[in-house]
């Protein structure tokens, strides 16, 4: 088992004169839930995108499972997956066709069996033959999560996993992700504006502010350091 899941060294991203992520160095152990927090424009999404190779860093290095992302990209990507409400699947084809496509890209063995098992777990079995574009946002989120779990990722990146979902669907998603993490000992990195969600799931918090790390450590340390009892308090205090 690798020692670290994610290690970044002086990671920066600059667009022209604008620095979006600045000198971020983190070292996350293998396995567990990690939350990335920050206000709008703090650089969370850019940071996540760099970890997946979607955005090339301007400076710095990224190591996933102790291997350089620059030199072992495709080997690493086999074990990563991602879900975001801002990223869709092709709308004109069925859920099943979408899932089979991604299962092939990840070289999933026994594709149909895997899809059926996940779709049963996520209550989307009845939707498999539906056209993806006709689904509600709650249904789409569950289908996207199914796509994100197809390759049993060792590193799962979730961008606002429960955005625009009702309370019960959100709770279901959280429980399911927790169960998945426990079973696979995966590393799950979450960004969310739902602070309660991060508080419930994550023991380790990375706080970004204007692209820089403001805090990186245990959740309890953050509470202690900021003399607050919740993440919401910390953000509200900051605003004052």
């Amino acid at each position: 088992m690798p020692k670290t899941s994610i290690r970044t060294k002086n990671l920066s991203k600059t667009y022209g004169n604008k620095t979006v992520v600045s000198n971020v160095s983190i070292n996350l152990p293998y396995g567990g839930f990690f939350g990335v927090l920050g206000k709008n424009g703090a650089g969370k999404t850019t940071f996540l995108a760099m970890l997946m190779g979607l955005i090339t860093p301007s400076e710095g290095e990224i190591f996933i499972f102790d291997k350089s992302l620059k030199f072992h990209k495709y080997e690493i990507l086999k074990n990563i997956n991602f879900q975001s409400p801002y990223v869709d699947l092709p709308k004109k084809i069925t859920v099943m066709q979408n899932l089979i496509f991604y299962a092939r890209l990840y070289d999933v063995v026994d594709t149909k069996k895997k899809i059926l098992k996940l779709s049963e777990d996520l209550f989307i079995k009845d939707l498999l033959n539906n056209i993806y574009g006709t689904l509600s946002s709650g249904q789409k989120t569950r289908v996207n999560l199914c796509k994100a779990l197809l390759n049993d990722p060792k590193l799962l990146l979730l961008d606002e996993p429960t955005a625009s979902l009702d309370v019960s669907t959100s709770e279901f998603i959280r429980k399911y992700i927790k169960k998945f993490q426990k079973k696979n000992n995966s590393t799950i990195l979450i960004t969310s504006h739902n602070l309660e969600e991060i508080e419930k799931l994550c023991s380790h918090i990375i706080l970004l502010e204007k692209g820089k790390i403001k805090f990186d450590g245990k959740k309890n340390e953050l509470f202690k350091q900021s003399k607050s009892s919740s993440l919401k308090d910390i953000f509200l205090k900051d605003d004052k």
Binding site: G53, I55, K92
Partner: protein, 263 residues
């Protein structure tokens, strides 16, 4: 009421004139139509010796083969645009899919789409107009392959531009083929064009392809030199366009564009 109409007018003006490709398409079309039909009429007026059926056969062969180029290019760009329109690019590029594998996938789907699209057209033309495209014999396969390859080259350039510069360039996917149409000598020979334009047109493989087609249909002969020029130009443009497309993906990664594309 007037205010609302003016508001609409300003809005449509901004959309129509807001990008170079859209602006180009507005003034380009009338010019293209005039040039194209002018050269076309000149050629057939000066070749009255053609019987109506041989003239029709030449025109229909050119229509079908030109459509191969159009379908080839469209099959590639539309397949790529589907990924953009459905905001699916991040999902795609975080998989172990290599950029070059995407290139192969797009080429294959374009080939399949073109074959499916063009086959019924050939049979209908054969049935209704006694049209014999197969008179081109084995050369038909050569011409077909080279036209679709040039379609791919154009498709990769357009897809790369859209990825890099955004949706304003989508218009090019439909327009670019017709931009090169008058210079491709599809329905008239190269010497119908002004001398200066001929020099530029010679760099297009389509010119040599359609000259070859006419030579086979009219004189039943082929110039080997033309065949080599077609192969050389096509390979050159295909390699160049694929490198351009791959470079645009790399720039999109640097500029964070893979995350911000969509309808």
């Amino acid at each position: 009421m007037i205010n609302r109409i003016i508001a609409l007018l300003i809005r449509y003006k901004n959309i129509s004139f807001g990008s170079f490709p859209r602006l180009l398409s507005i003034f380009y079309w009338p010019t293209v139509q005039i040039l194209f039909w002018g050269y076309f009429t000149n050629f057939f007026m000066s070749n009255e010796s053609f019987g109506i059926w041989s003239a029709l056969n030449i025109i229909l062969s050119a229509v079908v083969l030109w459509d191969v180029l159009f379908r080839g290019q469209l099959g590639l760009t539309m397949s790529f645009f589907e990924e953009l329109w459905s905001r699916n690019l991040p999902n795609l590029f975080i998989t172990p899919l290599k950029d070059i594998e995407m290139v192969y996938g797009l080429i294959l789907i374009s080939l399949i789409r073109t074959l499916i699209g063009i086959t019924p057209a050939i049979f209908f033309a054969n049935y209704f107009f006694d049209f014999h495209l197969f008179e081109l014999g084995l050369y038909l396969i050569f011409l077909f392959l080279n036209l679709i390859i040039f379609g791919w080259s154009i498709g990769f350039i357009v897809s790369g531009l859209v990825l890099r510069y955004g949706q304003a360039f989508e218009e090019l996917a439909w327009a670019i083929i017709f931009i090169i149409l008058p210079f491709s000598c599809v329905y008239y020979p190269l010497d119908s064009l002004p001398t200066l334009v001929q020099g530029i047109a010679l760099f297009l493989p389509t010119v040599h392809i359609f000259e070859t087609m006419r030579l086979i249909l009219i004189e039943n002969k082929i110039i080997l030199n033309n065949v080599f020029i077609i192969i050389f130009l096509n390979l050159f443009y295909l390699i160049l366009s694929i490198l351009f497309f791959l470079k645009m993906i790399s720039i999109a990664r640097k500029r964070g564009l893979l995350f911000n594309q969509g309808e």
